[in-house]
Amino acid sequence: MLTADLVRATRRGDQLHVQAIAGKLRQRAEELATSYLELAQAQCGGTQHELDVAWAQVQVAPREIKLAAGLKKLIEDACEFETEAAVDPPRLRSQVFLASAEARAGLNAGERFDRAGVLEQVAAALQLEPAQVERGLYSDLKAEQRLLRAPDTSATELLRGYDLAQLQAVLLRAVKVTAQVWCGTADGYRELFRKLKFRRLLFQVQPAESGSHRIEIDGPFSLFESVTKYGLQLALLLPALLQADRLELEAQLRWGKARTPLRFTLSQRNPGTTEGPRARLPDEVEALLGAFEGEREGWLATPADQIFNLPGVGLCVPDLRFTHRSGEVIWLEVLGYWSREAVWRRVELVQGGLAQKLLFAASQRLRVSEEVLEDHPSGALYVYKGSLSAKAVVERLERLRQRGPAPGPKTRLP
């Protein structure tokens, strides 16, 4: 990853703009990337210092310095280095410094310290040349490590990585990110929230226009202080956010040494995903939707476009929305056969007082019983064998409909 100081950015008012590498500059960047990659390949076997010297030979105009440093950083991160192992440097140092201290202590007044003599003495004891001793003395320093392997990527790939790395490096200095995301499928959202949770970030999610959701993301301590402590987690989350069909992101930053408060915005539509024809759902969900084509026993099925979050308890992203002729709505989330734990979390969600009615479909293989939520007014479990049955779904929808209105969030007073 790049560090924040390597980002090519300009400030306009309170906004930070990352300079895109486009047009002629991109051509130039590809030239630079090609040179650096080729030199790294050619320097395999040499020291890190020699690689730096070789790279320094590439002519770089003053305004290209940051770009060049960033490219070199990414290549270096992908390089593999090792310490020259002929003589163990700490052992060598230990012997040389002991010999030198002894020699110095034995000097009489007026005698000079014999540096070459000490090196020769140690070299003889180790059956080496004095020059080898001198060279090996600090061969474990980073600058003297040997380059084993250089990355085998193309300049184009490297630049693609650079584009992302620049955006991630900006988020390293973020105190809060607000992301408006459009995902075509419930799975897209689930993956995103799974990653959010994995990064131990906190969020608030609100439905926004045209089926999108606005997610405000920061960490526990952000309640008291705007801290960049979560910047690394936010940067690591960015690739997951960029998976969305469309993303409008705004980050609040503390930029530069002075930690100036700045805003950063990012807007992206993924080519290949469109908002026109709807995205294809997982096969079993698609099949169930097909079975409700038109209407089935008073129920109309459509792909779901909402996320239900009960702060402090959990979150669920339904797959389908069932609307009854009477206007009542019940949501279905298909939990499949992956995680028994997920089923218990949904049960907690229902018991915590979710304001919507939800049906959860779990495979028999998860060894859970429908009795867990048998009489709950706002939630039910549908345990299925093999594949989802439209008939069984309707039965459970009806039962849930007849249980009366959902109670809504519990009052949380002691």
């Binding site: 310095i65 001198e134 949380r412 002691p414």
Partner: protein, 454 residues
């Protein structure tokens, strides 16, 4: 029932509604997780607040045990150590103790751990100090001691870590210690480190330092992060009785004619650029402005190179190293520490005189071997960059040479402190090698402003 939980450096109060009032001010309703939340450092106040409200609660936040052991080695404390402990006790176990390097600050911490008997985290600025605390705690309490940092991660009721590791791990560790000791606590007000202090729920806190004052004046934050200054003794009040006598000598070294010519030429380029651009280096953003403008054009880049070269000449001119050779020979029966400004100069000295170096890149085992051999007089000289600056015990050293250094008063006092540890009839000496007629002369003047440097 209401319950308290430690979550990522904060304390959550769950099971109550957002309308509950009467909690401490720093405790806020968090709609993201439908609970009250406070910085972990407010844990003690929050518990008192809940008791005052007579609200029953289950404490699942506190994860620290009380110690079932105490000091194994009893040493009669010196009067000022007992006074410092009494002052800390008066302030309910939260406060900063200011004592000169070498006066035995760490003994105050041992006494405090023994008094409160809570599992304790000691936070120190460098790995060398971590190692030293590790040895001290093990020997004093006779138990296994944990280390977090420098590639190690082991937790015990007594654990030592660095400020950097504390920043990284306090989110996970913050509930496991009831007492936290911040060694060299003038580091703590830096933004990231301050966060670590706030993410820790330890009700008992002790800060130790020789030099409270910071260039940025942020030491005022310590009151909130640790506690008030409860005890303070200056270096002059203790010298002679408890510290070695010391003398200092500044040696001004002229550059050779060719070095001088090069220095003047490079400096003229650098200064010329500053003038042309109207940059005032004495201004608060002078340096930043210089770096920014220097990156914009060929003239700027040349000026930056010129700046680096003239600085290099002033700091580590060959003439200085020649003089160092003389000092090493003169003091070949003594134990000498050589301090440099940067790693490059430390390696240069190490290679040229074949003496061991300790830098940030030196591994703990090698560092420990070097210090051990120095104590056994198998090594007579150690060269180091900033690593040995703080609190590391090198009681054997009686000569220090500062080849180059920045103008920070604190750094200098600590270098001085290094050779001031108590020793029978010990007489310590500090040399400062400054290049004549260079910008470094000014740095040295500023450095000597501190009381200790007479």
């Amino acid at each position: 029932m209401a319950s308290l939980h430690f979550v990522a450096g904060t304390v959550e109060l769950r099971g109550v509604g957002g309308e509950l009032s009467g909690l401490p001010a720093e405790c806020a309703w968090d709609a993201r997780s439908a609970c009250f939340r406070a910085p972990a450092s407010s844990y003690a106040r929050l518990v008192l607040g809940l008791r005052q409200l007579a609200l029953p609660f289950e404490d699942q936040a506190r994860a620290y045990p009380e110690l079932d052991f105490g000091l194994r080695v009893q040493r009669t404390p010196r009067p000022f150590q007992s006074e410092a402990l009494a002052a800390l006790k008066q302030h309910k176990g939260r406060g900063v103790v200011v004592l000169p390097t070498g006066a035995g600050k760490s003994h105050v911490a041992l006494l405090a751990i023994d008094l409160w008997r809570r599992s304790t985290l000691v936070v120190a600025p460098t790995l060398a100090l971590v190692q030293q605390w590790y040895d001290l705690l093990r020997a004093s309490f006779g138990v296994e001691v944990g280390v977090v940092g420098g590639g190690e991660y082991s937790l015990h009721p007594l654990t030592v870590t660095t400020y950097d590791s504390a920043y990284l791990h306090m989110e996970n560790l913050g509930a496991r210690f009831g007492f936290v000791v911040f060694d060299e606590c003038h580091h703590l007000p830096a933004e990231a480190y301050a966060l670590a202090a706030r993410q820790c729920l330890a009700p008992f806190r002790l800060g130790l330092t020789a030099t409270l004052e910071r260039v940025d004046g942020r030491e005022a934050l310590l009151e909130n992060l640790v506690g008030p200054v409860v005890y303070r003794k200056e270096i002059v009040e203790l010298s002679g009785e408890y510290l070695a006598e010391y003398e200092t000598e500044q040696i001004t070294i002229s550059l050779s004619p060719s070095e001088r010519a090069e220095y003047d030429a490079e400096r003229a380029i650098y200064v010329g650029f500053l003038r042309a651009q109207g940059i005032r280096m004495s201004g608060p953003n002078g340096w930043l402005e210089f770096i920014q403008r220097a990156s914009r054009g060929t003239a700027g880049r040349r000026a930056l190179a010129a700046y680096r070269r003239q600085r290099e000449l002033a700091l580590a001119a060959p003439a200085k190293l020649d003089y160092l050779e003389l000092l090493i020979e003169t003091h070949r029966r003594d134990l000498m520490l050589v301090f440099t400004q940067d790693n490059a100069t430390a390696f240069q000295v190490s290679r040229r005189f074949l003496v061991p170096s300790i830098t940030h890149q030196t591994k703990v085992s090698e560092r420990s071997q070097i210090l051990e051999r120095f104590a056994q007089r198998k090594y007579g000289v150690i060269v180091t960059s900033k690593v040995l600056n703080e609190g590391v015990d090198v009681p054997e050293a009686n000569v220090a040479v500062v080849i180059s250094g920045s103008a920070s008063v604190r750094e200098h006092v600590q270098r001085l402190g290094r050779i001031l540890r108590r020793g029978e009839g010990k007489h310590a000496k500090l040399y400062e090698l400054v290049s004549k007629g260079t910008a470094e002369t000014f740095t040295s003047e500023r450095r000597r402003e501190h009381d200790a440097y007479r």
